[in-house]
């Protein structure tokens, strides 16, 4: 595979990492903040340029960079983008920028380290989106852990933040093991399938592994292992319990990143399904049912929540369920809807979590009992809260609608039974978001602390405006997103549905 003329992707990975080092070494605190902001902005610009240069018509990976890393094992430094991953990059850059701006004043101790960790997290997260070599991917995947661990345990807002950080680490470690096994099986299978000797013919690069034939039996194992690994991170029921804990204990800017960037769902799209195509086609309905259960189950639990952060965590889990349903429908609408929904939730859930952070910063709580009547004192915050809420429940005009529409239609085409679950989820999402809104934002003001709250500051207003504009922009012009991933979605699908038998059952429902 030839290298790109300009190493833009490496630049995108290493700019934030470099920024992290510089910020950590800067003594002057205000300067460090500004440097962090500068690097986050640079990153956003670089990723936007990348989207601008992206050729949505061509199949396969673009901007590929390929260098040997560990030659004895055929491990490469292989990165590249395609229509599926390209839009996640500016989104994560934007969300990190928003997280940095949101925590501008709220982080008082070890400020440099905090911003450095945020930038480092951005770098490795983008690495996860870009990596095309399984070992490189696994490296980035596991590297997300240390920054998150320290961010939770050092700047968490709950009293049990250390425990939450350990809980998160244990869950992620548990998820990493099956992932690693899956990767090893795949690479050994490549060596045996090509008839080569083991150390010299191992392969870890995704394009090579995609071309390697795998027996049905082995595919099932690979699929189960990879999905298990990604399900913990996504998270799917029953591996979801870390997210509400982290949302309650961790800092909101980090929780915004965790709920906004759903790496687990991306991993299932990128690796689990294409690497075990026939197993994916065979077992997709099981995964779809798990997704539907996650969707309805956490929507019901969200109805019961009295704390905004916890509610948002369950809402986010419910959204992951919806995305998984879309992926497993195995049609273009499903995949495009799933990607669209992921992008939408990056903006909507991430921003909602930041709004929760603003409330937390002002009141010291996001519990309904301490809120009530906020619409009167904070009309601007309420406006933005509503916009993001509406995007998250999929109202027309916001990006959530186009995504939800595609997902509902795709599940109707593939599994009509599951589409009922999706519709129930849509009704429930309105119920839990709006009933919380009613208690927190409407009604008379009961607390004196609420009465004295300040509305959004200029900095907060700016960062919320950024994501609000994107939400409305995507909502009004959904084709701008769909065009970019149309070709990639088609080739993704044709890779999985090779068996004619399946395509027939897929279309048999059609008139």
């Amino acid at each position: 595979m030839s290298n790109a003329s300009f190493p833009l992707l490496s630049l995108i990975i290493f700019v934030p990492l470099l920024g992290a080092i510089i910020v950590a070494l800067t003594r002057n605190m205000p300067l460090a903040k500004n440097i962090a902001l500068l690097f986050a902005t640079l990153e956003l610009i670089a990723t936007s340029v990348l989207v601008g240069c992206f050729d949505s018509e061509s199949h396969g990976f673009q901007w590929v960079e390929n260098y040997d890393w560990i030659p004895s094992l055929n491990i490469q430094y292989l990165i590249g983008i395609d229509g599926i991953s390209v839009l996640f990059l500016p989104m994560s850059a934007l969300l990190t920028l928003m997280a940095i701006l949101a925590s501008w004043r709220s982080v008082q101790h070890l400020t440099q380290v905090h911003f450095a960790l945020l930038l480092a997290l951005e770098g490795v997260t983008i690495g996860v989106f870009l990596a095309l070599d399984m070992v490189l991917f696994f490296l980035f995947w596991e590297l997300t852990l240390p920054p998150i661990f320290f961010l939770i345990s050092l700047w968490g807002i709950g009293s049990e933040r250390r425990s939450a950080a350990i809980k998160y680490t244990l869950f992620m470690m548990f998820g990493g093991v099956p992932l690693l096994f899956g990767i090893i099986i795949l690479s050994v299978n490549h060596a045996t399938a090509t008839g080569g000797s083991i150390p010299f013919d191992l392969a870890f690069s995704l394009p090579v592994l995609l071309a390697t034939p795998i027996t049905e039996h082995l595919q099932a194992w690979v699929f189960i292992l990879l999905v298990l690994g990604f399900a913990v991170k996504a998270p799917l029921v029953p591996f979801h319990t870390w997210l509400p804990t982290v949302a309650m204990e961790g800092p909101t800017q980090l929780t915004a990143l965790l709920t906004g960037l759903k790496l687990g769902a991306f991993g299932i799209i990128r690796f689990a399904m294409p690497l075990a195509p026939s197993a994916a086609a065979q077992f997709s309905w099981i995964l779809g049912i798990i997704g539907a259960i996650t969707l309805v189950y956490s929507a019901l639990i969200a109805l019961q929540q009295t704390n905004l952060r916890r509610l948002l965590a369950y809402a986010s889990i419910s959204h992951v369920g919806l995305v998984i349903v879309g992926i497993t429908n195995l049609n273009i609408q499903g995949l495009q809807g799933a990607i669209f929904q992921l992008l939408n939730f990056t903006m909507a859930s991430g921003s909602l979590m930041l709004v929760a952070g603003f409330i937390q910063h002002r009141l010291g709580s996001t519990e309904t009992i301490h809120l009530g009547g906020m619409a009167k004192v904070m009309p601007r915050l309420t406006c933005f809260y509503f916009l993001f809420t509406l995007a998250s429940i999929g109202l027309p005009g916001t990006s959530g609608f186009a995504a939800e529409l595609l997902l509902i239609i795709s599940s109707l085409l593939a599994h009509p039974g599951i589409s009922i679950a999706v519709l129930i989820g849509a009704v429930l999402s309105a119920a839990y978001m709006l009933s919380f809104t009613r208690r927190a934002f409407f009604g008379p003001i009961s607390q004196t602390s609420v009465k004295q709250m300040l509305d959004l500051r200029a900095r907060e207003l700016t960062l919320l405006c950024l994501s609000a504009l994107l939400i409305l922009g995507f909502g009004f012009f959904p084709n701008s997103v769909l065009k970019i991933n149309q070709t990639a979605a088609e080739s993704w699908l044709s890779n999985i549905i090779k068996q004619p038998a399946l395509t027939q059952t897929q279309r048999s429902t059609k008139y």
Binding site: F171, I185, I409, L423, G443, L482
Partner: protein, 518 residues
């Protein structure tokens, strides 16, 4: 000429976005800026009204082509959602009528809402609603109609919660929105089924292809859309939301629940006439539901003591009659009924405040004498529809949510295992110290490594066994020679590592890992 249709919804949307953005950034606020807002809103609605009338005129003169397509809004695989509009026939007539009503209400509200606290907010949502209802009526495909449908519902939510400080208003708004959301689910299901079976979401294609699908299929599609229509027009069993919606200001009640929005359901049924005519069962359902609602509205309306409530039940009843007409196949009559009802009811709602003003000192007589006691009771209680929904739907969902929440916190979370909280870990360190100096203060819980959950317990058990092994065999057995053995072991480990670094052993290692994996 047809291109003008684009401006009809676009003008109110522009006005709404200017008012909304201005308000958000503090450029429009307070009483001084009231004229700015009102001018913007009223001129947008006058102009769109004028355009609608011009378009109607040219349609009557047969100058319109009947449809206008702007471009593609959303493409995915074969799903192609266009931005297309209907510029002739009943849709356009209805749009013209609605735009006239909206212009009148807009003018009425300028005076009525003067010096209200949410003046600008009110006009923002009224303009947004004007956009939504024009989109709903004029759109040439189901999905854009649905956008209008849902945005109209959203505006209704915000105007019911207009006085959001009052808990009743906020509560009712949420309830109304969630009820409507059930109807929306029906709508989107109908759209999805049409796409699955008819391969198109354009109204024209859907109605044209109705001949080619089986009766079962068209019945399913028709029933899905009928649910949406019933929810929007407050037919049984969704009727109670309409009474709850009366919390908003009078002009918005007039335009939403009197003249315009509640008629959207009937419009949808009329639009889908070929599908319904192909589905006798759906026609019967529509007729029966319409008849029942009409009776319900009549009986409950008899015992209402305030003018807004009686108007609401009268509206419900009239809408029921329209559905009955549709169900029986009197489509033309339903259309006329719709238009006439919109005009009359809109006027009545707007006249309510002055009516109340004029009747201040007059006593009114309830018409309860005419009906038997049991019916009177049922009518007073509005046939217990709200408590029934609470009992049958909301309470079970709440209970289920509560149980699941308990299950999640106590069973799944503990099965997955939680790390020992920091404080407990520290205390166990302290216990260890105590143990070392021999002060057995608390012998019950001096385990150093405690695990919870499935994985935790397993690890804990394994650790206990290994610890026992270590202390009984390794440590005691070797004793003083530990250091020597350790050195020797170090040498072996070194040479072992050298071996391992050779590729073939690495491969062996990979194989062993694989074996473990299976």
């Amino acid at each position: 000429m047809d291109a003008l249709v684009l401006l009809i919804p676009l003008l109110p949307l522009t006005a709404a976005s200017i008012v909304g953005i201005g308000q958000l950034f503090g450029m429009i606020q307070g009483e001084l800026d009231e004229t700015k807002t009102s001018h913007m809103a009223s001129w947008a609605s006058y102009l769109s009204c004028l355009l609608a009338l011009v378009l109607l005129g040219s349609d009557l003169l047969d100058k319109n082509t009947g449809s206008y397509t702007l471009g593609h809004w959303l493409n995915s695989d074969t799903l192609d959602v266009q931005l297309n509009f209907i510029t002739s026939g009943f849709s356009l007539r209805l749009a013209a009528l609605f735009s006239v009503i909206l212009a009148i209400v807009m003018r009425f509200s300028i005076n009525y809402m003067h010096r209200e606290r949410g003046y600008h907010r009110f006009f923002f949502f009224l303009c947004l609603f004007a956009f939504a209802i024009h989109l709903l009526v004029l759109s040439g495909n189901a999905i854009v109609t649905f956008i209008g449908w849902e945005v109209a519902g959203l505006c209704s939510y915000f105007l019911i919660a207009y006085v959001y400080e009052r808990p009743v208003a906020a509560n009712n708004a949420t309830r109304v929105f969630v009820t409507n959301r059930i109807g929306d689910a029906g709508f989107i299901l109908g759209v999805g089924l049409s796409y699955a079976w008819l391969d198109s979401v354009n109204w024209g294609d859907i109605t044209a292809a109705s001949e080619h699908i089986t009766i079962a299929e068209s019945t399913e599609i028709a029933l899905c859309f009928a649910i949406a229509a019933f929810a929007k027009s407050a037919q049984l069993p969704f009727t109670p939301w309409l009474a709850r919606a009366m919390e908003g200001p009078t002009p918005s009640s007039a335009v939403f629940y009197g003249a315009v929005m509640v008629h959207a359901g009937v419009y949808l049924i009329i639009l889908l006439r070929p599908i319904f005519e192909h589905a006798p069962l759906a026609m019967t359902v529509v007729a029966i539901v319409g008849l029942l609602t009409a009776m319900y509205g009549f009986i409950v309306g008899l015992t209402q003591t305030d003018v807004k409530s009686s108007l609401i039940f009268a509206t419900s009843g009239q809408l029921g009659l329209m559905y009955l007409e549709c169900g029986l196949g009197f489509w033309q009559m339903a259309k006329w009924h719709l238009c006439a009802h919109a005009v009359v009811r809109g006027y009545q709602f707007l006249a309510v405040p002055s009516l109340m003003h004029n009747m201040q000192n007059l006593s009114t007589e309830s018409s309860s004498r005419r009906i038997p006691a049991w019916l009177y009771m049922a009518s007073l209680q509005r046939f217990w529809l709200d408590p029934m929904t609470d009992w049958a739907l909301i309470k079970p969902v709440r209970c289920l949510a509560h149980d699941l929440s308990y299950f999640d916190d106590h069973i799944i979370d503990s099965a997955m295992g939680t790390p020992v909280p920091a404080i407990q870990a520290i205390s166990s360190l302290a216990q260890r110290e105590e143990h070392k100096i021999g002060a057995h203060l608390d012998t019950e819980a001096d385990h150093f490594a405690l695990g919870t959950g499935l994985a935790g317990k397993l690890t804990q058990g394994l650790a206990t066994i290994l610890h026992w092994f270590e202390s009984h065999f390794v440590l005691r057995g070797i004793g003083q020679n530990t250091i020597n053995y350790g050195r020797e072991l170090g040498h072996i480990a070194n040479s072992f590592e050298q071996y391992v670094l050779r590729p073939r052993y690495l491969v062996l290692f990979v194989f062993i890992t694989l074996l473990v994996a299976f």
